[in-house]
């Protein structure tokens, strides 16, 4: 199985006004294509930092991240934006939908940025909204939806662009257990259907249970992989 993402000796130190804080220390691992992987650890262990670095929205102090064998450290800002647009999908803890766009427009947004033609966009968005069970809510604005529904729209947005890797930062943290379970089932289903790789950060046992591979992290160090 080829690696979608390869993390090699990544360290990250935050230099605030006080003492420098090491969020990640010499972290290395890889995620293969089509995997459903969770990065687990307590709060402050460096999960989100790791996900941000993989998602190219943050940069490591040292080490490298390869996305489909491309070293992200060598890429310009514009090229990184292009990688995020074409190869990565994001699901955030607090949904982060664009409040002024409807469900359909939110799901369509990345496709628009990709320059997908109107006909294709309509086709894809209808399909993904059907996948997440929100085809009847496509004209609703985020404020009109429940937390679970908003997170489903976020999943639809992430999956619509057919990325290689979806990065989900504690996607169930703001949801009740029933909704969280439904969301995990949905993501598993999409993982099968589209063969897209999922990489979570979580401390939710339900997510860990569903994950095919778990990377445990503590104090910025990987302590276990199973």
């Amino acid at each position: 199985m080829s690696a979608v993402v390869r993390v090699e000796n990544v360290s990250k130190t935050y230099k605030g006004r006080g003492v420098p804080v090491e969020a990640l220390h010499d972290t290395s691992f890889s995620v293969g294509s089509g995997e459903f992987t969770a990065i687990c650890g307590p709060s402050g262990s460096g999960k989100t930092t790791l996900l941000n670095i993989i998602g190219t929205i943050d940069s490591p102090t040292s080490g490298s991240v390869f996305i489909e064998d491309k070293d992200t450290a060598t890429l310009s800002k514009k090229q990184l934006a292009s990688i995020r647009l074409s190869k990565l999908g994001f699901i955030f803890q607090s949904y982060n939908l664009i409040p002024v766009l409807t469900c359909q427009e939110n799901a369509e947004f990345v496709l628009l940025l990709q320059g997908v033609t109107q006909g294709q966009r309509e086709e894809i968005v209808n399909e993904v909204l059907k996948d997440v069970g929100l085809e009847d809510k496509k004209h609703a604005f985020p404020r009109e939806l429940s937390g679970g529904q908003q997170q489903r729209v976020a999943v639809a947005r992430a999956i619509a662009s057919r990325p290689k890797l979806i990065l989900a930062d504690e996607p169930t943290a703001n949801l009740d257990s029933k909704t969280g379970k439904d969301l995990i089932d949905l993501m598993l289903e999409l993982n099968q259907k589209y063969e897209v790789t999922f990489l979570f950060s979580t401390h939710d046992p339900m997510v860990m249970e569903a994950a095919k591979k778990i990377i445990s992290i503590k104090d910025g160090r990987i302590v276990d992989t199973k």
Partner: protein, 795 residues
């Protein structure tokens, strides 16, 4: 060509997607196999319309209107035929291109080739034949020159893509022939002239050359999106002669900028009105679009740039048209063109539709950015409404100030013309500065005939002017004597009008036809008739003279003799210029001729009023070339240079005022935008995280300010409309404020009327939009400077 394994596909009824998946050669084979997928009669016509690409035909129609603007004021049926012919000119050219460009389209525009498959390529051929015949019939209905032009030039235009010449394969000549798509309708417009004046003036030829250069640049642009397709088809075009897309598009950018700037020398040489240069504001979006073309390096995205270029081109030529001649015809053509342009997108009647192109495009980028920007504005309704109110009132105030100044300045000119200055004066050389009676001109029937032949002349009258002395009892006064023809003078000045008719005649009556006669008239021994005289109120007060009283006027004749005559005061006039009222004396021209020893054909001045102020300078030029060089031909502004200077200074103040007002307002805009940016830092972080480019984010902020400025321009215009209407119909009486003032501006009518000036208003809009965009650059830069993670953690 087709491979044996793919041949069975040719018999199938393919969908667009299946067709797009065919190899390039097989696509052509499929179309040429004679398929006719569409059987619905109406849909077939719709496809013909799509292939004719109406949105691209409107530039031709606008060029026709522009050509007609140079020669015509008459609304005749020929205009309708001309507009239709101009439309068909481009329409049939597009059909010809579709018919000949299967190979290129198989690569560049497979969607268009699929449309041909739906229509049937034989039907396409039939439709272009019908189109050509229709053009000839329409040209025949117009006039002979149009028919000859259509018959001669149409085949050349078709040789752009048709064999044997297929000139599109020759980079420069090809692009020149392409420019005929716009130049030909322009020429047709000139040929549609309804009068017997010479067809082509220097001005129209200059514009024709400009359009050639301008549309050649469009041709260079048009070839870039087809770069890879034309390369694949081994076609040598202005783009494929370059080694890369980038070089071809940089060349296009350079040519485009030069083409637009070619308008400047034309304006400098007075071949187009100077105000036409306002249309160069379109150069900004043109350059941005060209830069985008350089960046995209992709056929489909290049086609999108081409689509934008077409929009900009239409915007530019509309501006050019309305600035050249602002009349009902041109407004109708503009509205119709915009309707077709946007309607063809709305109803999907264009063969270069986005979904038909070979790849993806960023068609939606601007749309989604505009949509998000619009909705963002209304997240904080109260703040947006307050900002909009401030901006709208500023816009309204700006329009009002500009309209007031325009009306005021126009009033100055109108009052001055009505007070006797007229638009143009003809004298013997140096007469205007010395008013010497030996400087007279001989007026003959040839000159009379010539004067009547000018379309620009509304009315004219012959006058005699001289310096002299008026005396009454023991008082005397230096005077400027006007000898006027009581029959023709009222057509160019208003001294015959009484106060109740808003005229200056406050007492008595105007001169009569007989006011040069002297003696006992009609053998009536009881009434001795004296020649009549009109004097100003100041003089009447100085002399303490009344209507019916007699006064003496003394002049020095052309021969140097001193001549005196007794006149009876017929009327007293009053302007708001005391010196004018104190020194001007008006008598019958025959009496003046008699006193100055002139013959009946000798006059000092020909005063001319033109139909439209814009006719003044061209007519003066004509007069200079048609009349003797010993004449001085003076236009209004040369007669009153002090007033021209006054208007100039006033304009400078207005510009300063308007700019200051809006710069102050812009501070409010910066604050609003900054607040709104800081409120959404987290959201911007998310957008950047999911792949939005920084440039898109900047565009979003700029789009918000653009919306603000557009909405405030609309609201401001609506707000001020009733005030402008009142000002235009009722006017503002300023006599009580300016009592005792000595101004030509209010010499006859102390009411200032507002005058809506489209160009000044558009200038205000341009200022508002530019200032708003400039000030929003700072918040836009601020938004994109943040690191994504920091932005996403920003609360």
């Amino acid at each position: 060509m087709s491979t044996p394994s793919s041949l069975p596909q040719l018999s199938k009824k393919l969908t667009l997607r299946q067709f797009q998946e065919l190899p390039t050669d097989l696509k052509i084979d499929y179309v040429c196999s004679g398929v006719e997928l569409e059987h619905n009669f109406i849909d077939k016509y719709k496809i013909i319309v799509m292939l004719g690409r109406p949105r691209t035909c409107m530039v031709g129609v606008l060029a026709y209107a522009l050509g007609y603007s140079y020669v015509g004021n008459v609304y005749a049926p020929i205009i309708l035929f001309g507009a239709l012919l101009s439309f068909l000119w481009s329409f049939s050219a597009n059909l010809h291109n579709t018919y000949t460009d299967f190979k290129e389209d198989a690569y560049n525009l497979p969607g268009r080739l699929y449309l041909v498959a739906r229509l049937g390529y034989r039907n396409l051929y039939r439709s272009l034949i019908v189109c050509n015949i229709l053009k000839i019939i329409i040209a025949a209905f117009m006039n002979l020159p149009c028919l000859i032009f259509a018959v001669l030039v149409q085949p050349l235009v078709h040789q752009y893509s048709f064999p044997p010449l297929r000139l599109k394969g020759r980079p420069i000549i090809g692009v020149w022939v392409f420019s005929l798509a716009v130049v030909s309708p322009f020429v047709l417009g000139v040929l549609s002239q309804q009068t017997s004046d010479p067809l082509f003036s220097t001005e129209s030829i200059a514009m024709m050359l400009f359009l050639t250069v301008w549309f050649m640049a469009k041709g260079f642009f048009k070839n870039v999106p087809d770069y890879y397709g034309d390369k694949a088809a081994n076609l040598t075009t202005s783009a494929t002669i370059f080694s890369s897309w980038k070089s071809a598009s940089i060349f296009t950018l350079a040519c485009t900028v030069v083409a637009y700037l070619a308008l400047i020398p034309i304006a400098i040489f007075n071949l187009v009105p100077l105000k036409v240069l306002i249309s160069l504001i379109w150069l900004i979006p043109v350059v941005i679009n060209c830069l985008k073309l350089i960046e995209v390096n992709d056929g489909a995205k290049g086609n999108y740039c081409l689509k934008i270029d077409m929009l900009i081109s239409v915007g530019f030529i509309i501006t050019l048209l309305l600035l050249t001649k602002f009349n009902i015809l041109n407004i109708v053509v503009t509205v119709f063109s915009l309707f077709i342009l946007f309607g063809s997108d709305w109803f999907g009647i264009d063969s270069r539709r986005n979904q038909d192109t070979s790849g993806g495009s960023n068609l939606g980028d601007e749309m989604i950015i505009a949509k998000i920007a619009w909705r963002n504005l209304w997240r904080n309704r109260r703040r947006t409404l307050i900002t909009l109110c401030v901006m709208s009132f500023s816009v309204a105030f700006m329009i009002y100030m500009v309209s007031l100044a325009t009306g005021y300045h126009k009033g100055i000119i109108a009052n001055s013309v009505k007070a006797g200055t007229s638009h143009i004066q003809i004298h013997k050389e140096t007469f205007h500065s010395v008013l010497k009676s030996d400087l007279f001109l001989e007026w003959n029937s040839k000159m009379e005939e010539k004067m009547r032949s000018y379309n620009e002349v509304k009315a004219y009258s012959l006058r005699i002017k001289s310096l002299g002395l008026a005396s009454y009892t023991n008082k005397a006064q230096n005077i400027t004597l006007w000898g006027v023809n009581p029959k023709t003078e009222p057509t160019i000045s208003v001294f015959h009008n009484e106060v109740k008719n808003k005229g200056p005649l406050v007492e008595g009556s105007y001169l009569k036809e007989t006011d040069y006669l002297e003696g006992y008239l009609d053998n009536n021994p009881h009434v001795f008739h004296l020649p009549g005289v009109l004097i100003g109120k100041k003089m009447a007060e100085h002399f303490d003279i009344r209507i019916g009283s007699s006064m003496v006027v003394t002049l020095q004749s052309a021969g140097g003799e001193i001549k005196q005559n007794l006149f009876q005061v017929r009327g007293i006039f009053q302007t708001l210029i005391p010196t004018y009222d104190a020194r001007t004396v008006i008598i019958h021209h025959k009496m003046a001729q008699k006193m100055l020893s002139y013959s009946s054909s000798q006059f000092s001045e020909v005063a001319i009023v033109v139909n439209d102020y814009s006719d003044m300078k061209p007519l003066a030029e004509k007069l200079k070339s048609d009349f003797s060089s010993s004449f001085e031909i003076l236009t209004w502004d040369q007669i009153h240079p002090n007033l021209v200077d006054f208007i100039r200074v006033d304009n400078v103040f207005i510009v300063f005022f308007v700019v200051t007002l809006f710069v102050v307002t812009s501070i409010g805009i910066v604050i609003t935008l900054l607040m709104s940016v800081f409120e959404r830092v987290h959201e911007f972080g998310v957008m950047l995280a999911i792949g939005m480019k920084e440039s898109n984010l900047k565009s979003l902020i700029l789009a918000e300010s653009l919306w603000l400025s557009i909405v405030s321009c609309i609201c401001g215009s609506i707000l001020i409309s009733p005030v402008l209407y009142m000002g235009q119909t009722q006017g503002i009486d300023v006599s009580y404020m300016l009592e005792g003032a000595s101004l030509w501006a209010i010499s006859l009518d102390p009411t200032i009327y507002t005058e809506f000036s489209l160009f000044a208003t558009l200038g205000c809009f341009a200022l508002v939009i530019c200032v708003t965009l400039i000030v929003s650059l700072y918040p836009a830069k601020k938004a994109t400077k943040m690191e994504i993670v920091q932005a996403m953690n920003f609360v």
